[in-house]
Symmetry: C2
Subunit: 202 residues, 2 copies
């Protein structure tokens, strides 16, 4: 009989189920923080995410389709929110001559200012990390990276821009190597959202 990670008896035997439950609690924290930040600025959670994302990512990614797969939503949902942001004057749509079906999202001056403010919402997660030792942090990070990679391979998270899924990444005798920068990468240098990322096998 298979057991759920939420089963107390199972939790007492299994460290894995404790980890999953912990991660679930932290997800809850994200949800709460995002919601709170949204309300404070009269935005919706998804609008907050879009503003932050657009503030930190390149033109190619600042399109309806990219945003949709980034946040695992439909294009219709994203389209609505983008329209709302446009009406509020935080973004502007810019047609490109190459493909007139699509457009790139640009933050207006007000949008960029707002984005800077709201992107601090995750700070509350940042502070609790300060008391962990360096080794703890390193182990924590590599474990999380491994998890994320597997979640992406399993098709649960659609998009990522981490080294493991990048065409420039190579494992050389158990060491990480980036073929774009031509340098070895320490565990802590592995990126989770690399601007130069190119998906493997494209």
């Amino acid at each position: 009989m298979k057991r759920s990670v939420f089963d107390h008896q199972f939790q007492q035997q299994s460290i894995e189920s404790k980890i999953v439950v912990s991660l679930e609690r932290i997800s809850e924290a994200f949800r709460v923080l995002l919601w709170k930040e949204s309300k404070e600025h009269a935005l919706s959670p998804i609008q907050v995410q879009i503003l932050i994302f657009c503030n930190f990512h390149s033109e190619q990614l600042r399109k309806i389709s990219s945003l949709a797969s980034e946040f695992n939503l439909t294009k219709a949902t994203v389209s609505d929110s983008v329209k709302a942001l446009e009406q509020k004057g935080f973004i502007r749509k810019q047609q490109e001559p190459e493909d007139t079906r699509s457009y790139t999202i640009h933050l207006t001056k007000e949008g960029a200012e707002l984005a800077k403010k709201i992107s601090m919402f995750a700070d509350h997660l940042y502070q609790p990390l300060s008391t962990l030792s360096d080794i703890q942090k390193q182990t924590l990070l590599s474990s999380l990276l491994e998890m994320i990679y597997k979640l992406q391979q399993a098709g649960i998270i659609s998009i990522n821009r981490m080294c493991f899924s990048c065409r420039y990444y190579q494992k050389k005798s158990d060491k990480h190597y980036c073929n774009l920068m031509n340098t070895p990468l320490k565990n802590t240098e592995l990126r989770i959202d690399c601007p130069e990322h190119e998906m493997i096998g494209n």
Copy 2:
């Protein structure tokens, strides 16, 4: 100038910001999995959470107010969802003689069966952990526990039933100790959702 964890340059310097971004990705995975599971059973995400929670927690916690603070929602929101679950025949409200204002939620036979099924939704998070070493898992867990405790202290997550916030917990010369069971606790024995939990200072 303070920087956001979503800032790429900042990420390259700071391991903490990478961890936060990773956690954010994992939260996304939870959101997606919960949504998917909901749709498959014609439930809403919050209904799924309520069913699972009620399946694994004691009577005192199976009340509107508890659920509301557990999930950081208002009572109104929870009340609505519980009503829906009742109409679908998965739960039943049971008045207690001690306090007739309130009632306890009981799963019906169908509700319990459904709860068992849907509580496996987190399994996709469980499997990616299998390749981690024991030491990695232990470090991961204690880091997460520490984070959660601080998030609760900071008032971001309202409720938890972990050892650190329990009146029976004691730190004896840097070792963990449970005064209810009268036993020392290894790092891996620390609980994240203990049925015997009693909030400190009550």
